[in-house]
Symmetry: C2
Subunit: 324 residues, 2 copies
Amino acid sequence: MNEASVIAMIARHFPPRPQLYPLGIGDDTAILKAQLGLDLLTCDCMCEGVHFDFRWMGWGDVAYRCLSANISDIAAMGGEPGPFVLSLALPGHSPSVQDLEALFGGLRACVDEHHCQDLYLLGGDTVRSSGGLMLSITLLGRAPSGGAVRRSTARLGDKLVVFRPLGGAALGLELLRRGLHGRAPLFEREHRRPMAETSLGVALGQSGLLSAMMDLSDGLVQDLERLSAASGLRLRLEVDAIPRHPLLTSLCQELGLDERDFVLAGGEDYTLVATVPVEGLEALGVLLRREGREAYVIGEAFALGEGVDVGAFERRGFEHFDSA
Amino acid sequence: MNEASVIAMIARHFPPRPQLYPLGIGDDTAILKAQLGLDLLTCDCMCEGVHFDFRWMGWGDVAYRCLSANISDIAAMGGEPGPFVLSLALPGHSPSVQDLEALFGGLRACVDEHHCQDLYLLGGDTVRSSGGLMLSITLLGRAPSGGAVRRSTARLGDKLVVFRPLGGAALGLELLRRGLHGRAPLFEREHRRPMAETSLGVALGQSGLLSAMMDLSDGLVQDLERLSAASGLRLRLEVDAIPRHPLLTSLCQELGLDERDFVLAGGEDYTLVATVPVEGLEALGVLLRREGREAYVIGEAFALGEGVDVGAFERRGFEHFDSA
């Protein structure tokens, strides 16, 4: 396949939408309607052998997860996702038409599952990689009218809140690595095709009840260290209060694994963690029940300073870029 | 160096500019002022061993060229460049502090040389690559008030116009490969740090004199084949009319090279090619002389259909992504 046939395939999966975007794929740049009011901008990059392994992920899964990671970043600001572009570096040898069909089909599936009108592929760059497959997606988004929810604005005394059980994606990967396919399809799916929290993020962003928010991508403790550093506050986690799926607990017991490894440092949860002033917790509970969701208080910002207190747990988060 | 220290280095080269961009590096996403009216979106990706070779390019050159390629795409729509994000996949072994300083210094130099207020790094993603260095930049831009200049809108009878001598970047690379460093610093610079045509692109876009435009990145003939396909017009090139630097001619003669290889298929010129209705040529000449530039008519759109007539020349353009 040459570049032109890859572009033609992309245009089949993402045909023009001129009423929303005057120009998509096929020129030097895409053209947006300036009045769309897109004011959030993020990008995420995933490399074969570092961020994914084709033994456990298909081409469609890889694309789906890369887009989810971006959508999750927009959700973490309380925003709605908009158009995106894709840089695709393809290994010289392997990509068949089927591989690429799967890749763009995975992207399209992720787009369709979010039901966000503006979420759409508008262009990109397809090149040859000297190594494995590499994807980089850049996504625009729209902040809530009250402003984006940052991670630097937590306040002393605020509670730490998460919204669903953690650690499933990491356990899913561990099960796949151990050849235990099919033991927990839920967790395999969380690893392969994590669903970013768009509607939750938008509801939280519009509520005005949060002081700060971020998404969980590298593991709870490591991500909270960033929130701590940005806010200048020390955080204390109540490890037993962190929600986990009963199946995660039972599988970890069966396999002799420490479930705290998955819950605290698993990574790739692609859900949200927020700080909430105590006086807003009740209203938050009401809001979430209306959305069919729950709030789990897992700790608090207890002092000025920096760091995450977690007891005796030895941190093993995912560091994207190791020391040279 | 870990991820946090890379991000800290980026923030030194691109400190916050809150009056223009409420939030840059350091959160889940960057925040733009929605009313900035940015309506162009492009991305370009470059991989070590495919798009650049560290034997001929430094880390700063690589970053400079990748940003130039993006700015060139915006210029090709007649637009001004705005904020950008960078995905950086770093080889596991090699990047020293000096390498990364050079990389961000090269980006910063490119930004500074364009004197465009909105052109600025706002964020990105830094990961570890399983292969060589990979950069992907996504750039926003602002179209001219009359609308972006597309490549699909050329009309029958229009003249093909370029604005500076072609082939220098490709000859620069050839000289470096032959160990002839210093023989033609001008061409080495065109290879390492090509200057995208921002002010020219904006002037052309505002003039309303063009029917279509695109930038030259993969070689004149290959790029014009895309314009031809998009416009549904056959193009004829007058090879002898294509401007080339006298030093390019003399070096090619001395080294036994065919200068047409460089002029027609060299690639990475990062200048512009436009189609201009005959009745607009005179006004275009006046406009360009005011900018201190020139217009070179190098052919025309002579028939309905598709293809580029170039005489006996055998095409050898740069195809980013070879057949699998």
